[in-house]
Structure formats: C-alpha cells, structure tokens
C-alpha cells in the first residue's frame, strides 16, 4: 500500500466509491476500506441492482404470460428460477466489476478489510485473515451505509425468515410469502415473487402503504397492487412467527391492539426498513456523536464533531438512497479539495420499482399543507396519454404541485410505467427553480409518456389539452 493518503473512505457503496473517485479526480490520494469481497455496497450487491434485475425479469415473465396474447404473441412462458437468479448475479457482477475498474482507473488503493476509526486521522483495518494494519490520512469519510432493521423476537435465518438479501435468492418460488412492511423494499420484492407465482400478503403497521409518500400516490398504488393480486393487512403488526412443520405461522394483530389471527405462510420477508451501520466502527471510542436514531451527526460540511472525520449517505440524516449518498460523496470530496461542494436535499428523487413505478421529487401535498404553503395541483392520467394507451400501460398519473403565486414547481409525483426515468426532468427543472409554465412551454416529444408531464404542467393552469 502506497501512502501517505489525503483521504480514507470506509465503505465502497455508492456514497463511498463516488466520494473516492471524485476526490481522486481532484488530485487527492485516496484509499478505500471495504470488508465485502466486492465493491458497490448494499446497493450493487444485495440491494438496488439485484432487485432491479429480478423486477425486470419477473415483469417480462408476467407480461409474456398475461400481456403478449393481446398483442398477438402466443407463448407459454415457463420459469427457470435458477437461471433467473444467475441472470441477476451476472448483472451484479457486471456492476461491481465496473466499480473495481473505476477505482483502479483513478489510482485509488483498495484495502480489503474491516475499518475502524482509531482517532482523528487514523483508521485501523482488520483484514479477512485476521491481521491488522493502520492507515493514516488527514481526512476520513465514513460511508458504511445501513443494515436491515430487525423485528424484535423474530430471527432472520435468510431461508424461511428472510431480509431483502435472502429474498433476492430464494431457491424456489414460495407458495405463500408474507411481507412485513409496505415500504419500498417490501412492495418491490413482494411484486417480484407475486409475479413468479407466490401468493403475497403485506402486513403494515400504519394504515397506509409507502409512509412518507404523497398519500394520493400511495392510495393509487395500493389499488393497483391489489388489482394485481397482492393482499394488504394495513394497521396490523406481526406479533410472532412460529415454525410449524414446514410452514410458518405468523401471528398478526391490529396495530392498536386486539385479537391476533394466524396467517400461514412459507416465507416471511422482514422489510421494515434499514438502520445506519455504525457498529464496530469505534465511533464511541473516537467520541463521534450519534443522534437518537443512531445516525452520525454531521455539520453542513458533512464533518462529524471530530475534526477530519466526515460521514455521508445512510449513516447520516436523510433518506437512505444511493443517489443521495453519491451526491454527498461528491460534495464531501469537493469540500476536502477546497471547493464549495453542496447537495440540494430538497430535490432528491425517490423511486419505487413496482409496476407501475412510483417516482416523486420534492414536497408531497401533505407536506405543503402542513407548511401552510398555497399551491396549485396539476394532474394528468396516463389513460389520456397516447403512448400509454397503445402500450396498455395506462395505470397511474402525473401530479405536479406548484406554488400558487410564483408557479414554481414544489413537488412532482408520478405513478406510471418508467416513472423512474420520467422523474429526471422534474428534478432538473426543480433544481433550476422552474415554474409549471416553464415545463408546459418546454417541447416534449410525441408520442411519449413524458407528454403526461407536460399535460400535468398545463393542468396546473387548468389548460391541459388532452383532458
């Protein structure tokens, strides 16, 4: 290992590796410490990327089985799950190898081991073989991400009771799958296995799905998912899971209390969220302050209370999203190089890759109402969009929330096919502080699903053309 370093990044997830590359671009000598055999963190190895591979494959499987005939394509698809999982793994490999290549290209040293903060400027590394070493650099960035949140009393064995990690590699399609938590992970992986043949029940503590999302969007998706065959038990909690002769008996009771009933299932997916990964990093010993939710407290420059130690991504406040971590990684690298790196946390898109997809950026209607901001709503359904009609992807809508006076776009919420891609233009215009009229006056190609965005922008001023 060639020191001395200007920067040590602990963790090579989307936040860490982007931070390392950006810092290297700016002339800093960087080392990364990663305990996993491959780079990319949760996102690339057991999160965003593999789940998207399965979502894509399972969507096509379902489409082939149920949608092709209407288009005059007669096929009878059969599932080779082992191959599908291999397809997923190939996708993951392509991505993690890509990160390794990028790190190498940027002359970033890779230290394969578990990092631990020994003090300002000092990182201890325990290698896989147990040997120890120390690295020094004036700046340390903690980018250790997050871990699966566990339900008390329910042990995840990754076979019958699984987290998202296990749910990405079930060796056979479970007949019944019970998902605990109607958040993004639960709905995405629930969708995968439902498409592949499982009977999926989602148990959610709150009386709505997708907490935090615009509630109209959540209600709309809930209806669509029910139509697809998913079952919801909202306002309910899982009290216990018992293994009983090959099946699992899940005790589900009303969140407010009341009598429990037993749901039998083959696999339970615990998807109640994620918690910051801060254990074993030596934070307490180094005196690095955490908040009540065990997130590392940082200032506007992403610096912790210990000078020279920074933190980004899932271990700090904010949505646990790869792209949020990436932007923070970029910003902190720029700050370290003396620039004014910054992240606009008000414009961070959020996507759920169900079918249809859900994507949103900015404020929800509830947030605007709570803040007392007067706004106009422009909404346009995909049923009135030409491209969606011929594609038969008419589920969903685009909703634009704009300041009542200035017309500035404050939030955009989309339920629809490829909403994940469409949301980008909303983020761009919001980053530039654009108005609904600006968006409406921007030419959109025809026929595309993005025309629904333009129409929703027109609808803010009550002048949608195709409604």
């Amino acid at each position: 290992m060639a020191g001395p370093y200007d920067l040590i990044v602990i963790g090579t997830g989307p936040g860490g590796y982007v931070c390392a590359i950006r810092a290297a671009q700016l002339g800093l000598k960087v080392a990364v410490v990663e305990k996993r055999a491959t780079h990319g963190g949760t996102c690339l190895n057991v999160g965003c990327i593999p789940s998207k591979a399965l979502l894509h494959a399972s969507e096509l499987y379902e489409e082939a089985g149920h949608g092709f005939a209407a288009m005059g394509i007669n096929v009878k698809p059969t599932l080779d799950l082992a191959r599908m999982l291999a397809f997923k793994d190939e996708g993951v490999k392509g991505n993690v190898d890509g990160v390794a290549f990028l790190l190498k290209k940027n002359k970033i040293d890779h230290v394969h081991g578990t990092g631990r903060i020994l003090g300002p400027g000092k990182v201890g590394v325990t290698f896989i073989n147990g040997e120890k070493s120390e690295l020094e650099a004036p700046a340390i960035v903690i980018a250790t991400g997050s871990d699966v949140a566990k339900l008390p009393g329910i042990d995840i064995d990754e076979k019958e009771i699984v987290s998202s990690t296990g749910a990405l590699s079930l060796p056979k399609v479970p007949e019944r799958l019970l998902v605990v938590g109607a958040g993004v992970i639960g709905l995405e992986l629930g969708s995968v296995w439902r498409r592949l043949g499982s009977k999926v029940t989602v148990v959610e503590f709150l009386d709505r799905i997708l907490p935090g999302m615009d509630s109209e969007v959540a209600r709309s998706l809930e209806r669509i998912l029910i139509k697809q065959g998913m079952t919801f038990r909202l306002g309910s909690k899982v009290a216990s899971v018992e293994k009983a002769g090959g099946a699992l008996k899940v005790s589900v009771e009303p969140a407010k209390g009341g009598t429990a009933d037993i749901i039998e299932t083959d696999v339970v997916l615990v998807a109640i969220g994620r918690v910051p990964f801060t254990d074993g990093l030596g934070l307490a010993e180094a005196g690095i302050a955490l908040d009540a939710r065990k997130r590392i407290i940082v200032n506007g420059r992403f610096e912790t209370n210990v000078s020279g130690v920074y933190a980004i991504g899932d271990v700090i406040v904010g949505p646990m999203l790869a792209h949020k971590a990436e932007d923070e990684g970029m910003a902190v690298a720029e700050i370290l190089a003396g620039q004014a790196g910054q992240v606009n946390h008000d414009v961070i898109p959020n996507v759920i890759y169900t079918f249809p997809e859900v994507a949103s950026v900015g404020k929800s209607e509830e947030e605007l109402k709570a803040a007392g901001i007067a706004f106009n709503v422009g909404k346009f359904p995909f049923t009135a969009n030409g491209r969606a009609k011929v594609n038969r992807t008419t589920d969903g809508f685009v909703k634009i929330l704009a300041d009542a006076e200035a017309d500035r776009i404050l939030g955009v919420h989309i339920v629809g096919a490829v909403a994940s891609e469409i949301i980008a233009e909303a983020a761009v215009i919001m980053e530039f502080g654009g108005s609904a009229e600006d968006l409406a006056r921007t030419c959109h190609a025809h026929p595309t699903l993005t025309e629904a965005v333009k129409e929703a922008a027109l609808a803010v001023a009550k002048r949608a053309i195709h409604m």
Partner: protein, 434 residues
C-alpha cells in the same frame, strides 16, 4: 396598497449598486421623499428617497447586497392599518402596525404590479461557484429566464470582480477531470486546505466586505497596470515664483473670487499648456487607433474617507485659475459628503494626483485608464539647490509623470514634464501661453 422601492437609474454605465445603510427599519413610518437607504455605486453614494408616504412594510435586500438597477429594495405600505410581514432577507424586527394617525394619503398613484415575489434561484452549478467565489445572491446579474443566474454569469462576474472573493477560499471553476494542468497549485492536498485559521487567529481577524467603490478602485488600478506599458519619469520644480505670487495675491484673490488661491490652479494650467504641446499625453488607445482629444477634461484626485475619487474639470483649458480653484473646492466638499454625481467623474482626459497634501516626497502614480498620462504632485520642501553657482534653499517639489509608453514616447513624456516645470517656475508663461 404597497408601493415598491426600486433601485433608481444611477447614470450611464452604472448597472449595479451595493446596498449601504438602511436609514429606516421595517415598520417605520416614512414621509414621501424621505431618505430610506443608501446605495453605493462605483463612484458615488446616493440616497434612495421614499417613493410614497406610509409605512416601510418590508426590506427585501440586506445591507451589503449588490443590486441591479431597477431591483426591488422593499415596499412601502401606503394604507393605514395593513400589517405586512417582513419577509426580506433583513434581520429587522417584524413589521408592526403603523401608528394610527400617521399615514398620509398617497401623494401619487403608484403602479401596483403583480411582480412575482419569488426570485429565481441560481442554477446548481452557479450556486456552487457563487459559494466558492464568496458571492451572494444579488451579486451576480442573471442572464437566464426571469433573471436566473447561470454558470456563465458567475464566471463573468468573477472575472469582473476578482476582489469579490475572499482571499482564503480557493476557487476552481472547473477542474479538469484528468490530472490538473496548468492552473494554480493543483493538486490540492486536502491537509493544507482543510486547516482553517486557528481559533486564536480567527478571533483576531476581521472580515469586512469591500465597498463597491473599493472594488472598483482595485479593479481599475489593476486593469491599468495590466494593459498599459506604464512607466514614470521625474523632474522637480522650483516653486519660488508660484509661492511668491500666492503670497502676494492671496488675500486679494480670495476677496475677489471668494476662493483661496491654492496650487492646483497653477498645475492644471501648466498641464494644459504641456498637453497642447504633447497631444499624446492627452490621448487614449482604442483598438488599433489612437484617439487624440482636442479638449482638456482634467481629473483631480480627491481623497475621501471612502477612497479616492477623481472628479473632472471639464473644458479646463477655458477656465480661469479662479474658476479652477472654485470648482476643486466644490468637488472636495461634495466628495466628502458623498454627493458627487456620476457625471462629475466621467470623461477625463488627463489626471493630476496630489500626494503632497499627505506629505509624499515621491511616488509613481498609476494611470487612470484609458488615459495615457497622470501627473503626480508631491510635498514642497526647502531643499538646497544651486543657483548662479551658489547653494541656496528653494521650495522644491518633485514631479512625476506616469505615462503609457505604448503611445507616449520617452522624449514626449520628458518634454511634457519639462514644460510643466517651466510653467511653474515662470508663471508669466501662462499669460503668454508659451
């Protein structure tokens, strides 16, 4: 009803101003035409009067902010009872209800426009660059839709105002993706840059925003140094004759003209005499052409507590010494009061700078671009000189002429200064214009 307070037109070539002191607080009751806020421009400080009587409902821009001509400064609430919340950037007390008796009827119908309150934010890249250059929203004029500040605008503003950035913040507009090339001391080792001044140093430092005037001075001086082939030639003048004349006619002059007889009148006259003979010193370069000016607008540098300003004696060749002295005295008074107008300071063809009043023995003045010459005056001091083979004490002054060698030849510069010396040593030449 609210009347907007906007930045007035401040003269040609003035496109922006810095908000100085707010003389009224949000919530104050103001009379029409009462001064509300000071604006500093490149050259002068002006007061913006209240466009209407009423209550200063809100202050939109904080002190120290740079504003464009026509920008909204605040609003006056003309109606009696209306309580308007202060939403400006000002940390002023929130508006309170106007005292019941105060409001007068609006003196004139104020156009109430439906101006959208929200300001376009700078683009993402521009935001970062502005932070790095230490620029505030409002410092940069936006060229985007509805005045949005775009990346190019910041780059242009930074170029124009190199002084605007804090010294300690290194700026990199656009770093190369690959190992950095020529610009600056890159790569930047993190350890050097991250270390701020130690706490004990920090507390003993004071950061003061450069005034508009100071920024302009800095910019102009540096520009002159960068552009002109500037050098200085020296001479000295025996002030005996001028001083004798002053002593002899001081009282009579003051009685007759109502102004003291100083030295500047003589120097202006002497310079004009010399400029007539050496037109290159009264010229400027415009592209590949030289503009010889057959008129003599002489700038006279006047020190104020805000910095140096240079009001112009227009058509100075047609002025008598008394008129020159009168005009200079008036400039000095107005400069100290900050009441010089923009037009007072535009269009000079040659400048005289008098460091002598501060005791300077010798200096090399910097050109007032695009002019090609500047005369430096210095202190008068009895020095031993040789006259008719005898060492005698004479009141002597060193003279310095800085000139743009691109268009003024050495011979011309030396001749110019010799002519100035001759005129001063023998004021009878003024009468004969030789």
């Amino acid at each position: 009803m609210a009347t907007e307070i906007r930045v007035p037109t401040l003269g040609e070539s003035v496109t922006e101003a810095t908000v100085g002191k707010w003389l009224k607080k949000a919530g104050d009751t103001v009379k029409a035409d009462e001064p509300l806020v000071e604006l500093e421009t490149d050259k002068v400080t002006v007061e913006v009067p209240a466009p209407a009587a009423g209550q200063l409902a809100e202050i939109k821009v904080a002190e120290g902010t740079t504003v464009a001509i026509g920008a909204l400064l605040g609003a006056i609430n003309e109606s009696a009872a209306g309580v308007v919340a202060s939403v400006g950037a000002q940390k002023e007390a929130p508006a309170r209800p106007a005292p019941a008796a105060q409001p007068e009827p609006p003196p004139r119908a104020a156009p109430v426009s439906n101006v959208i309150a929200a300001v376009m934010p700078a683009s993402p890249a521009a935001r970062k660059q502005m932070a790095e250059a230490g620029l505030q929203p409002g410092d940069v004029t936006g060229s985007g839709r509805r005045g949005q500040v775009l990346k190019g605008d910041v780059a242009a503003a930074v170029k124009l105002e190199p002084q605007a950035q804090p010294a300690r913040q290194p700026r990199q507009e656009e770093e190369p993706a690959s190992p950095p090339a020529t610009r600056g001391p890159m790569p930047v080792p993190a350890r050097d840059l991250r270390i701020p001044a130690t706490l004990s140093e920090d507390s003993r430092e004071e950061r003061v925003k450069m005034t508009r005037l100071r920024q302009t001075i800095a910019l102009r001086l540096k520009e002159a140094q960068n552009n002109a082939a500037m050098l200085t030639t020296f001479n000295d003048a025996d002030m005996t004759a001028v001083m004798a004349m002053r002593t002899q006619y001081k009282e009579l002059f003051e009685r007759r003209h109502g102004v003291k007889l100083g030295f500047m009148g003589f120097f202006v006259k002497a310079c004009i005499q010399a400029l007539r003979e050496i037109p290159a010193v009264n010229a400027e370069i415009d592209g590949d052409e030289i503009i010889y000016k057959n008129y003599y607008h002489i700038g006279v540098a006047v020190g104020t507590d805000r910095g140096l300003v240079v009001p112009i004696l227009r058509e100075a060749d047609r002025m008598s010494i008394a008129e020159i002295e009168g005009a200079i005295s008036d400039f000095g008074k107005r400069a100290r009061e900050g009441k010089l107008s923009i037009t007072d300071m535009q269009g000079g063809t040659f400048t005289i700078s008098n460091g002598g009043v501060y005791g300077s023995m010798l200096s090399t003045p910097i050109l007032n671009a695009p002019q090609s010459g500047i005369l430096g005056m210095h202190r008068i001091e009895e020095r031993p000189v040789v006259r008719n083979g005898q060492i005698v004490a004479r009141p002597m002054m060193y003279l310095a002429l800085s000139y743009d060698h691109r268009i003024v030849d050495g011979k011309e510069a030396v001749t110019f200064l010799a002519r100035v010396k001759e005129c001063l040593e023998d004021p009878q030449r003024f009468i004969l214009e030789i």
